[in-house]
Structure formats: C-alpha cells, structure tokens
Amino acid sequence: MNSSWSYVSIAAVSLLQVMLVLLGGPLLLGLMRKVRCRMEGRVGPPIRQPLLDLRKLAGRERTRPEHTSWVFPLAPVVLVATTLVVAAIAPLLATNPAFGWSADLFAVVFLFLLGSVSLALGALDTGTAFGGMGASRAMTIGALAEPALLVAILALSVPAHSSNLPAIITRSLAHPAWLATPQRVLALVAFVIVIIAESGRLPVDNPSTHLELTMIHEAMVLEYAGPDLALVKLAESMRLVVLLTLLADLFIPWGIATAPGPSHLAVALVATVGKVALLGVALAAFEVTVAKLRLFRVPELLAGAFVLAILAVLSALVVP
Amino acid sequence: MVLVAILALPLFGGAAIAAGRGRRSSAWVAVATNGATLVLGILTAVRVVKDGPISGAWGVLRADALSVFMVIVIGAISLLASWLGIRTMARERELEHGSPVRPSHYGMLVQAFVGFMLLAVLAANVGVLWVAVEATTIVTVFLVGHRRTRGSLEAAWKYIVICSVGIALAFLGTVFVYLAALHAGGHSAHALDWTSLMAHAHRFNPSLMRLAFALIVLGYGTKVGLAPMHSWLPDAHSQAPAPVSALMSGVLLTVAFYAILRFKAVTDLALGPGFARTLLVIVALLSLALAASLLITQRDYKRMLAYHSIEHMGLIALGAAAGIRLAIAAVLLHILGHGLAKSVLFLTSGEIMAAEGTSQIDGVQALLTRRPALGGVFGVGLVALLGLPPFSLFTSELVMVRAEFEVGLGWAAVLAMVAMVVIFIAVVGHARHMLLGPPPPSHVASPPHLAAPPRWVATPLIGGLAACGFIGVFAWPLSGLLEAAARVVAS
C-alpha cells in the first residue's frame, strides 16, 4: 500500500464503507423489491420501505422463547458484527481501507461462515421444529457451497499470487486483459451461484415465503422479534450488499479509489453505488423469471458451480 | 563332578517322592531339588563363561556355554512344573481316594523326565544324546497317558509311534555322521564326541553329511514339533496333565532343537552355511504356515497353545537358519522366553481346566470377571506369547528378523511376519471369547476361595511371567552367557 495514505483518510474510508453498507443494504432491498413489483405490474412499496420497517421493529418489545440459553440473543449480534468487520476492512470503496493488508479473501469467507453458524445455533436454541429444519437446510447448503466458493477464490488469487483482496484488485486494475480470460468468466459464474445460495435468494430459497416446506433462512429467524428481528433483517441486507460490492470490485474494478483525497472517494462512492444498484436490479430481474428449486436439486446446482470453479483454476494452467 | 551333581539332583527328588509315597512334603523336596538344579546351573554357567567348558564323569558329560544355558532353561521350567505338580498330585490323590500309588508314579516319572533331559543336554557324545532323547520319549508316554481317558490313550499311542519313528531316523542320521567321522580319520572310541566332530568336520564327505543332516532335521524335528512330523504334538500336549505338557512344550521341544543346533554347527563347518540354511528355512516356513492355518478355527485352548508352540519352534528354526552369531543369541533368548511363557500358560490352562471342567474355548466365558487372578495370568501370558513388549519374546523376535534381513533371508522374514499376524488375529479372537465380556446370566458366583487359586499356586506363575519380562527388558544377566553360547554354534 503506498504510504501516501494518511491515517485519517484510511479511517475515513472504513467509516464511509460501514455507513454505505448500513444504509445501502436496506435501500438495495427496497430497490430490488420495487423492480420486482414493477415487472409484475404492481406499484410496490417505496424504496426506503425496509428502512422504515427497521425503525418500526427497533421500537418493538424484545421477546425470547422460555428455555433458550444466552446463545439465542447473541446470535443476531454476532451475525451483524461479522458483516461489519468485513465491511470495515474489505476494499469496497478504496483499495486501502483500515487494516486492508489483512483483508484476506479466505478470512472473509470464514467470517461469513461464523455468522451463518451462529445464526444456525440461535435457531436450534429455540427448540422448535422450524429452527431445526432451517438450521439443517442452511448448514447443508452452506457446507456444499464452501468448495465452489474457495476454489473460485483460488482461481482469482492465482494470477495475483496472493489471496489478499486489495492486491487482487490492484493487479486486475493494472492488467485489464485478465478480466476477459475464460478463467475470470468461469470464476464469475461460480461466484454468482454461490452468492445466491449464501444470501438465500431465489432460486435457492424464497426470502418472502412463510411456507414451512420451502423456507430456509426464514425458518431460522421465526422466533426473533423487535430489535433482534431488525438486526437479522439488517444483517441479511448488509451481507447481500457486501457480497455484491465484492463481486463488482473483483470483476468490474474500474472506479474504485486507488489514491487518497475526497475527490477520488466521491467518484468511487458514485461508481460503487451505481455498480451495486445495477447488479441488484439484474438479480431482481433474474429472480422474477425463475422459480424456486426443489431442496434436493440445490446440491446439483452447487456441484455445477464447483466444477466451473475447478475448470477456472485448470484453465489458468492452460492460458497463463 | 558338578555335572554329575546336576544329573543326580532330579533323580534324588524322584527317590524322595517314591520314599514319601507321593505325600505333599516329599513333593516339596522334589521342587527343592529342581530349584537346586537351577542354582547349580547358574553357578556352572558363571564358571563356564569365565574359564571355558568343563567335562565330567570320565568324558561322558561335557558342559560348554550352550549346554549350560540349556541346563538353566531346564532348571527354571522344571522348577515351575514340579511346583505346580504338587497341585496335580493333590488332585490325583482326591480322585484315587487317597491311594498314593499313582501320584508317586507321576512324581517319579516327572523327575526321571527332567533327569534324562539334563543328560541329553550335558552329553559329550552324540550316541548318549540320542539315547537320552529316546529315553525322554519313553518316560513321557506314561505321563501323557496318565489321565487314563480315551483321549489320553489315543494321544499316547500316536505320540510313541510317531516319535519312535522320528527318533529312529535321527539315529540313522547319527550313523551316517559316525561313518563320515570314521572316514575322516577320527578315533572310533571318541569319534562321536562333539569336540572331535567339530575338530574334524572340515574333512567330512559333503554328500554324506548333506544326507545325514537332512535325516537329523527330519528325525529330531519330530521331537521339536517341526512339520512334517508334528501331528503328535497337539494331541499329546492337550491330553497330558498340565505340568507335563508345560515341561514338554516349554523345554523338551527346545532340548531336541538343541541337538539340531549342535549338528548344524558341525554341518556348517563341513558344508558351509548354505545347505543347513535352505533346509531349516523350508522346514520353518512349513511349520509356520501349518500353525497359522490350524489356529484360525481352533476350538480347544490347550490345542491352541500346542499349535502356538509349533509356530514358535518354526520361528526358532528360521532364526537358526540365519546362522550368524546375533541370530543364535536371539534364538537362545527366544528359547528361554518361550519356555517360561509357554509353561506358565500351560500350567494356568491346567488350573482353568480344573476350575471350569472343559478345555473347549466356548465352554469358558468371561474368565476375567469370574476368576480375575487366573484370567489375568492367562491374558498376560498370551500377551507375552504373542510377542508384545515388554516380554522377551518381542525383543528376540525383532533381533531374529534383523538377523534374517542381514543374511538375505528378508523374504522368509516377511512370510514369517505374515504368519505371525494371522496367528495374532486368530489367538486374539479366541482369547476374547474366553476372557472378556460380562459373566453369562446363568453363572452363579463361585465362593471367593475357590475362585482365586491359593497364593502358593499364583506365585510361581507370576514369578515366571516376571522373569520373562525381566530378561526381555534388562540385558544384564544373560548377555555374557548368550554371546558365549552363540560363539559355540556360529564360531
């Protein structure tokens, strides 16, 4: 990292990123819901509706099932905390956020895994059938998505000789030719499939359903109410924003701030918000056209992603 | 003179039993004499290691390091066997409602048996060795048939017929060796002495010596229990009373192997090590394969121990086949270790047989919970026998494998190791059925004094195992004797 970054600017970048993620998350969900309704011919709620929901929920009373242990209330907190840590150190807006040198792609994946495990434990603590079912399905999908994710990361890290995020982004900025190689395209497709699975979007899991047979993420958070539910919903949206931003930075990195100074940051902010909004709309449009997969067809999807990722790495061998 | 004393002691014990008409006090005298034999053997060993072989009784007896080592082995195991023999004689007296005839016969025959083995080992010349070994066969026939059951009678018949034929073949081998010695210029009176044989061996006729040694291995091999003339061993050892089968399995087999070792020394000088090595390897691998195959579905634990003896004799033969000094030292250590472990196991199986009434493996269940002392000693004995540390059989087997690899017999060592693993799997299966598990529901807890054997019975068994462990871990007492004895065979 060039030493031109002063500590103030580094801290500013991290803070800006955290604010972007905190506010951007619910807004992005609002935007996606608006796009879905428009395509289905409905007017749909305003884009800032999720923010209003969060404010409403924050005001509500906190409840907890009788014989749950301290894991139940702690789970949403850990979930949000892990996403916050990633938002702080990952290069979303600039290539040199606070402690950017330790923003390792593998570490990001394992932080997300910690979040989903804590949520699963919180669900199991409720002692209800829904909690168990949701946790079991979420962990199965998480376990099967892991290989595709890590091998896709391997495919990205090999040309940059390191799995550090800022390093990958700066190297891909320096060699734009890499972005068109088959290796990157295959990795991109694998990444998209895994992101859909991780964040629980259609066709893997329908976030807006309450039908026992099909809900995965929703089943786990059935017992949360008031502020806890707000935290869970916030975490869900933040996780989606972080993943989409990372996707954008890794595959279409132009516009990310590589030098300090407010002007660069402003450009980066606009570029990132634009890219993420674009990706959000594309995802929403894709969701409208596709139906939910049966639970036992999801592993085939993830297996396909894994094979694509392996091909990505092996093609790196053929095309240097 | 001390050699004559060693020989006289067991016979004196026998006479004491006869005089005491089989009563317990006279039996203890016999045990004391065997103990004295052991002590005398150790003292002689120290003397022989220090200032070389000594001879006695007008040249008929001669003790060098190898034969003194065998005296120690015989002394130790005869001490254990006669100590537990008191238990057999006591049970015998109950059966015969107090008539002392049969117990005293039994005591005298055992002491005679020990005496003849000592004669065989201390014999200076080959003819006396043969006569002594034949005499042991004749003495043990009545001991094998002692229990007067149909099985023991059948076992006795097979034992005497097969062993007599085997010993006759060994005599033919001795004749040919005598012939070769005469033609090499040896003086007819002393031609059969080991010393003159070793001195003139390099001038013996090679083809005659090949035939002679083959006959010796086939003949004495019968007494050692090596294939192909081994079939008497499981029957005899399973039907004989426990102390007798302990003595036979523990030391009689190795005394016969002592004879083969002696002749191997002569043959190696005459023909070079090649011939003896190939012959012993063939016989050893045959015995190992046989023992391994027949142990898998064994139903009787005494026969299991007998087949185990065949396996260990096969290992000893393979070790001797390697022939270098290290191998012979390991073979001798294995002889002592196996003798101790096997005799303790046979004696314990005798106690188990008396307590449980059957020698079938399925007939005995959860021994460790119902009779902890007996089950414990039997279990630890099996651990020692299977060649697991800290007992001496592990160390000697390892050194033998090392020697075999050094001599180029690596492939034979691999086959032997495979056989040993097969036997380990089989014996662990059988031991599991006998020792482990919760006691069967039908079992009524026997009163404690019957469950655990009295202390004086347990001490020799635990002492035997402790000795086997001691010589396995500490090199101190035996190292000098082993080196000297190995030099005698593989000079």
Partner: protein, 668 residues
C-alpha cells in the same frame, strides 16, 4: 540437563505405574495421577528446553534391551510432539482426578495409564529402531488394555478392542519390516546413521520402506483404509484415555510418516507424496462425511479425528510434493501448516473429547438424539464444548482457522506451476479442504446445536448437572489454549517452523513472517488473527450496545411459535439424525445407509398397521467391502485347513514317509 529430564520422565512414569498397582484404594488414583503429571511436567520442560536451545538430548545405554541397546535422542522435531503429548497428558490427567466410572478406578487401569502416558512422551524421543519399536508396541498394548477397562459391563467394548488389536498388529508388522529393512540395508540401527546413509540405497528399498512405514503409521493415525478401529475404539475407551488417544497418540502416526519420509529417507519421488495426499484427501472426505451423519457424540469425534488426520496428511503430502519438485521454501511452509494443524488439533480435539466425557458422565449417554439443553444445565462444560466445536470448525477467533488458512495458503502458492502433478493436485486439495471444512462446520453446528441447545430430549439430559471441578478444569485448560492460540498463534509458530526446518534439513528461519500477523515473505497481504478477533469483539460490543440503547425494557419470555398449538415438547425438536438427513440423502451413494422398516399389522386387515419400527444404520463402507470379505475368507481358509489333519495316525505317518522319500531322492 535435558537428558536427565528424559530419564526422570521415564522413572516418574514407572513409579506412577508401580504406585497405581501397590497403593491402597483411597490413595491410588491421587498418587498415581500426580506422579504421572510429574512425568508429563519433566517431559514438558525437556521439550521446551530443546525447542528453545536446539541441542538434541541424547540418552544411550546397553544395559537395557538385550542384543540391541536402548537409546533416546530428542531433537526439535521430536520435542514438538513431546510438548503436545505432555500438555494434553497433563490436562487429561487433571480431568481424570475428577472422573469416576468407566472402570478407571480399578488397580490394573491405574497401573497401566501412567505407562501409556510415559510411552506417549518417549516415542518421539526414541532414536534407534529397536527402542522405537519397543516403545511403539508398548504404547499399543497399554492403550488396548485401557480400552478394555469396561469390558465387563458392555459387550461392544470387546468387539472394539479386537478390531483395535488386529489393526495395530497389522500396522506394527508393516512397521517392523520397513524399519528393519532400512536398518539392515544401511548397516546401523540408529536413526541418525540411517538418515545419513539412506540416500545411497537402491530406489526399490527406499520405496518399500516408505510404503511399509506409511501403512504402519497410517494405521495408527487412522488414515482411511486402516481407520476402521478408530470410530470403534475411541468411544469405548474411558474419557481421559480417548482424549489421549485422539489428541496425542494419533499425532505420533503423522510424526512417524514425516520422520521416516523426510527425516530418514530425506524426501522421495513425487509418487510417494501424491499417494500421501491421496490418502489424506480420502481420509478427510470420508471422515468428515461420516462424522456429519453419525449420531453418537464420541463416534462423531472419532470420525472427525480421521478427517483432521486427512488434512494433516494433505499438508505433509503437499510439502513432500514441493520438496520433490525443488520448491524447498514452499515445502517448509506446507510442513509448518501440517504441523500447526497437528498442534491445534491436539488442543481442540482434546478439549472436545474431555467435555464429551463430562457430558457422558453427567447424562449417562453420548447419543446426541438423547441430549439437549445442556448449555444451561452444565454452565462450564457446555461453553468448553462450544469453544472446542467452533475451533474445530475453523471459525475465526479460534485456532482451527489459523491452521486451515495456512494450509490453504501453502496450497495456493504452489500454483501456477509448470509441474502437472502440482497443477492438478493443488486445486483438488483446496476443493477437499473446502468440502471437509464445510462438512465439519455442519457437523459441529449439529453437535453443539442438538447436544447443548434446545430442550433436553431424555430425562438423563434433563437431570444433568455440572461435573466435578477437576474435570472441567482439565477440559477448560485446553479450550483456553484454543482461544489463546487462535488469537496469538505467534506463541507456537516459531517453534513449529524450527521443528519443520530440522526434519526437512532446510534453513527454515525466514519461511514465514511471524509476529502477530502471519504471511509468506515477498507475498502481499497477511493474516492477523489477533486483529480479526479484536474487530469481532468491538463490533459485537457496539451492536449489543446499540440494541440495548434502542429498547431498554426487559425481555419478555414467550411460548415458542408452534402453529397455534399450546404444548411445546422436546419430541418436536430436530434430532441429530434428522439434522443430518439432508446430507445423508445428498451423499446417498457414498454412505448407502441401510434403512429397514418392519410393521406389524392388525389381525383383521393388512391395510392397517398396528405398530411400525424403523431401523436405520450407517455402516462404514470400508468395513463392508474390505474387512468383512477378508474375515470371511480368513474363516473359510481355517475351515479348509482343519480338514487336513483328520486325526488318523496313518495319515500323520504318511506325511513322515513322504518327507523321508523326498529327502532320499533329493539328497542321496
């Protein structure tokens, strides 16, 4: 000074074993355990001394071990394993002070346990073939006897012990042949001389010795084809013994492979290490899959040991592969990753097994379908198991994450490579690492979720109370180490780097930049586990504060939502079987679970069932396809052989006559 400590360890162990056999009942456990802890202490000090100073401690005497002599030489590589065994030993023995039951109180058990611990401490120090094999087999037989302590109460202990004895003997036979082949071919017993002369041996000798050593040590470590005893023996062994076996004895298998493969033979051709990686990958996937779908807690932990051994072998294989293709620096990094995983696995597996034994003692069973709600009932052992579970699932604040990350890094930096073997092996290695990581996360989410959280499913779990203090102190110590090593791995990494350097004989000082952030030299980007943990702590605090500020009213306890039903019972909860059911269905063809339903119909009509019982069982694939047929063949051969000696004296004499004729024909 350190040689004296080694001798002190041995003597203290023997004294403890003697004390265990002799002292009266009341004092027996306390005296023998404290003496053994003393032995572990001596070994620990000796190990740390050597790790620090680097001069090996040599003890040699010909008074022991007839015809071969007894010699110990502890170098840095061996010292690392001695330290691990000592730490796990101390914690397990502290645990044992409070542990009642499972037959450990008997005289034989308290006499044999010190012997077992002493052999664990001395095996890495053995420096000649006979001493090594003596200690190795003594360790095997003592652990077998300890597994047998409870044979009088439960039938399956016998079966487990038989499997264990047979598999260990197979391994030991291969080991004896391999090491003796090496010793005789190089003309000396001592490891140092073998290491020097092994380079000139013919390739077939080196390859045979390596493969035999791989079989021998692989069977002890629990690598796949030879792992069958591990999920049977560990659950049956008493608590502290199963912890010692899983956390200390299994490492010695990996120690052996590295010592023979890299130390004695100095590396070898590529196919050696591809074989090790293949075994590692197979063990990792097979172990993690079976632990994800197993129902018994200790069986789950045993299978996860096979899985973690697979990961260690992957690291060792990768290191050997790099060394054989010339990338010496990368080889050291991969070996450091593997050894670090050994250290961390010993710590979290030790705490998991100890806390699982606490659960077994508190509730009376380790069947996950019968546990639940233990976090509230066992306020100390519960969190310890939670910490252990999160650590083994490689989640950030704990130590599992660091070693998993380093394994991934060592495989990543192998690419891009012109060598086809590396280019293919590394991506598949990362794939296997990822799948096993995912499955382990699934497994321990299940173990923690079903075991500790929710409603207690049986009254055994209902009535569970916290175990006695020494038990959770022992387990807690290891859990604390999980956290400490997770946050500050620099406490361990330098020692591991030196140890790796010693065994690969390559100057390894600069191989890994270690301070509080870990990274490879010349590669941008590093990992700062301490920083991540701090960040997590701060963020959690902030979020909790925010939630507290927004709504200060007390939390209202409500009835969990049951679709309008009033009564919420434990029967409605998910169980371990149902939790693992989706995964079993996904991997149906690998696991092929057997599921048979027998329904009894009412007399009148077949269409109405009176009662139905379902039996599902998951048999180990290797057991069904490899070991059962071998056993059937074994018995058939036995039955065949029995027919030859049919008892007739004529047949026996005929054998003799044929032999005589052969002798006459051949020789005369």
């Amino acid at each position: 000074m350190t040689p004296a400590l080694l001798v002190a360890t041995a003597l203290a162990g023997l004294a403890a074993s003697l004390a265990g056999a002799v002292t009266p009942d009341r004092l027996r456990i306390r005296v023998s355990t404290s003496l053994t802890i003393g032995a572990c202490g001596c070994a620990l000090i000796a190990g740390i001394n050597i790790l620090h100073s680097g001069h090996p401690a040599v003890v040699h005497t010909t008074a022991l071990m007839p015809l071969s002599g007894f010699s110990l030489a502890l170098d840095r590589f061996g010292a690392l394993f001695v330290v691990i065994s000592a730490v796990v030993g101390i914690c397990a023995l502290v645990f044992r002070l409070g542990y009642i039951g499972h037959g450990l109180g008997s005289r034989t058990a308290s006499c044999i346990l010190p012997l077992f611990v002493t052999t664990l401490l001395l095996v890495p120090a053995a420096s000649n073939v006979t001493t090594f094999l003596f200690l190795w087999e003594l360790m095997a037989i003592t652990s077998l006897l300890l597994v047998l302590t409870d044979h009088a109460h439960r039938g399956e202990v016998q079966v487990a012990a038989q499997w264990y004895a047979v598999m260990t003997q197979l391994g030991a036979a291969a080991l004896i042949l391999g090491l003796v082949l090496l010793a005789t071919r190089t003309g000396s017993q001592s490891f140092a001389v073998i290491a020097l002369r092994s380079a000139h041996l013919p390739t077939w000798v080196r390859s045979t010795a390596f493969v035999l050593a791989l079989v021998g040590f692989g069977s002890k470590a629990g690598a796949v084809p030879l792992h069958v005893w591990l999920p049977r023996a560990h659950p049956e062994a008493p608590g502290p013994v199963s912890a010692l076996m899983s956390a200390a004895m299994v490492n010695l298998g990996v120690y052996g492979i590295v010592r023979v493969g890299m130390g004695l033979l100095g590396g070898g051709p590529t196919w050696w290490w591809l074989l090790v990686m293949f075994l590692g990958a197979l063990s990792a996937m097979f172990g993690s899959l079976h632990s994800a779908t197993s129902r018994d807690l200790k069986r789950l932990l045993a299978y996860s040991t096979t899985d973690n051994v697979g990961l260690m072998l992957l690291g060792v294989g990768a290191s050997g592969l790099f060394a054989s293709t010339g990338h010496r620096a990368l080889a050291v990094v991969a070996l450091v990753a593997a050894l670090l995983h050994v250290v961390f696995h010993a710590v979290f597996k030790g705490s998991l097994f100890l806390s699982a034994s606490s659960v077994q003692q508190a509730t009376g069973s380790t069947d996950l379908d019968g546990l639940g709600g233990l976090l509230q009932r066992m306020p100390v052992s519960g969190p310890i198991f939670l910490v252990g579970g999160l650590a083994i699932a490689a989640l950030p604040p704990f130590c599992g994450f660091v070693s998993e990350w380093l394994l991934l890094q060592s495989m990543l930096h192998g690419l891009p490579s012109s060598d086809v073997a590396i280019a293919v092996a590394m991506p598949i290695g990362v794939g296997v690492l990822a799948l096993t990581g995912g499955l382990t996360a699934f497994t321990f989410a299940k173990a923690i979720g079903i075991g500790l959280l929710g409603l207690p499913r049986t009254d055994g779990a209902e009535r569970a109370t916290e175990v006695r203090r020494p038990m959770w102190v022992g387990a807690g110590l290891l859990a604390l180490l999980c956290l400490v090593f997770g946050v500050a791995p620099f406490l361990v990494i330098p020692a591991v780097v030196d140890a790796a350097g010693v065994v690969t004989r390559f100057h390894s000082a600069g191989a890994l930049t270690h301070g509080w952030q870990i990274g490879l030299p010349g590669v941008p980007g590093m990992l700062a586990p301490g920083l991540l943990a701090l960040g997590l702590l701060v963020c959690t605090g902030l979020v909790a504060l925010a939630r507290g500020l927004v709504r200060r009213s007390p939390v209202r306890l409500t009835e969990a939502w049951g679709c309008g039903r009033e009564l919420q019972t434990a029967r409605m909860e998910y169980t371990a079987t149902s939790f693992g059911e989706p995964l079993t269905r996904v991997f149906e063809d690998v696991l092929n679970p057997s599921r048979d339903i027998d329904a009894s119909h009412i007399a009148e009509s077949r269409y109405y069932t009176e009662a139905a019982v379902i039996h599902t069982s998951l048999e180990d694939a290797f057991e069904r396809h490899l070991y059962r047929p071998a056993d059937r063949g074994f018995q058939r051969w036995g039955a065949l052989a029995r027919r030859v000696p049919n008892g007739s004296v004529h047949r026996y004499l005929a054998f003799g006559l044929v032999a005589l004729i052969i002798v006459l024909v051949v020789l005369a």
